[in-house]
Symmetry: C2
Subunit: 223 residues, 2 copies
């Protein structure tokens, strides 16, 4: 815990990175999911992805408000993370609505795990913000149930979606590690040295992958 | 006023058309605006269009909730309007973020005028729904101010945006009239015969065009 960080300026700079990547991640997930929504099989399904996209935007606004409270520039904090996040989305363009649905589910659950892990290392106010953002488990449940139904309706989807989910996870972890190398905020927030930070990142990566695998098994897919 | 319609079944069928076109219009505006947001000049501007898109989605959800209350199928009500609305969007693809901004402004203001005009002919509950949806003048003000600023920053934009806004209005009115011919709900709700309905539609068209022209003049553009 570093609720009262030893070096406030240093802590704030790491915090700005964390909030910056969160904010840009939410904003771009909003845009991608809402454009994907148009390819949904039914109008009802369009609204399902739309609703998830709106929740992402509301998260973006919560992080934005925190920037304002702190007197920090959200744009400056987000910009360094734009290339990695955009690159992730470019590398993971869904071929159809089912792949969009899976992408929404993977982004939603893996980033929730990531933020929950990070929440241990931040001040009480930031932790509260992270918890508010992660309390939208309702969205996750909607996605999971819709995926289950799609897989029950068309069992041939399983092989394709299992492969797709594995690729999504791989790309997400690759980008996360790239971000981790370029921006040392994870080590910084946890107050560890370079070796400690590497250990933290690799432990976190393993944890995210294990959780993802468990969720895929619950969907009846090979994790 | 037809707060207690003479023929409830007939009235409900017209109402279903009205709510159907509203719901599909809001849902597709949400998707188009949020995908357009990605091409914004700054991250701050991306959030501006994103916020407007989210308001459209919330309107869609209000109309959706009304369908549920009435025990009606929103999907069945929206489907007949999908071709016209999609056609409008296909014919009006913004070339850049400024054109997206103008498109958002025109859709927002012209549909507000349209719904306000229609509100005279519907039952109290539907009227209340329309008023709730149209109370988001905050969004309109944000768009107007951002457009004003863009025009002040780059006066060369004026000619292009004036032309673009004229095209948007033309396409919107064309689609509205097409919808008006295919679906007689406007005449139906107002309780007029075919000639009366035509008169109503042409009066409404003129009113929408005049209001649009006044708003363009306020922006310093040739209406």
């Amino acid at each position: 815990m570093s609720s009262s960080p030893a070096d406030p300026a240093r802590y704030n700079s790491f915090l700005m990175d964390l909030l910056g990547v969160m904010a840009y991640g939410e904003l771009s997930a909003f845009e991608r999911l809402s454009s994907d929504a148009r390819y949904s099989p039914t109008l009802h399904d369009r609204a399902v992805l739309g609703r998830i996209a709106v929740i992402e935007f509301q998260h973006y606004e919560l992080v934005s408000a925190r920037f304002e409270e702190m007197g920090l520039d959200a744009e400056a904090a987000m910009l360094p993370f734009q290339p990695s996040v955009d690159h992730f989305h470019e590398r993971t363009r869904p071929a159809d609505w089912y792949e969009s649905l899976m992408k929404a589910y993977v982004i939603d659950t893996v980033s929730a795990d990531f933020y929950r892990a990070i929440a241990r290392y931040v001040d009480a106010e930031t932790r509260e913000l992270i918890e508010r953002i992660q309390s939208a488990d309702e969205a996750t449940a909607v996605l999971r149930e819709r995926l289950k139904r799609a897989l029950a309706d068309d069992p041939r989807l399983a092989a394709r979606l299992a492969l797709w989910a594995r690729r999504l996870l791989g790309e997400a972890l690759t980008e996360a590690q790239r971000v981790g190398f370029e921006h040392a905020f994870l080590g910084g927030l946890s107050g560890r040295d370079a070796a400690g930070a590497r250990e933290l990142v690799s432990g976190l990566t393993a944890e995210l992958a294990a959780n993802h695998s468990r969720r895929m098994t619950q969907l009846g897919l090979a994790g």
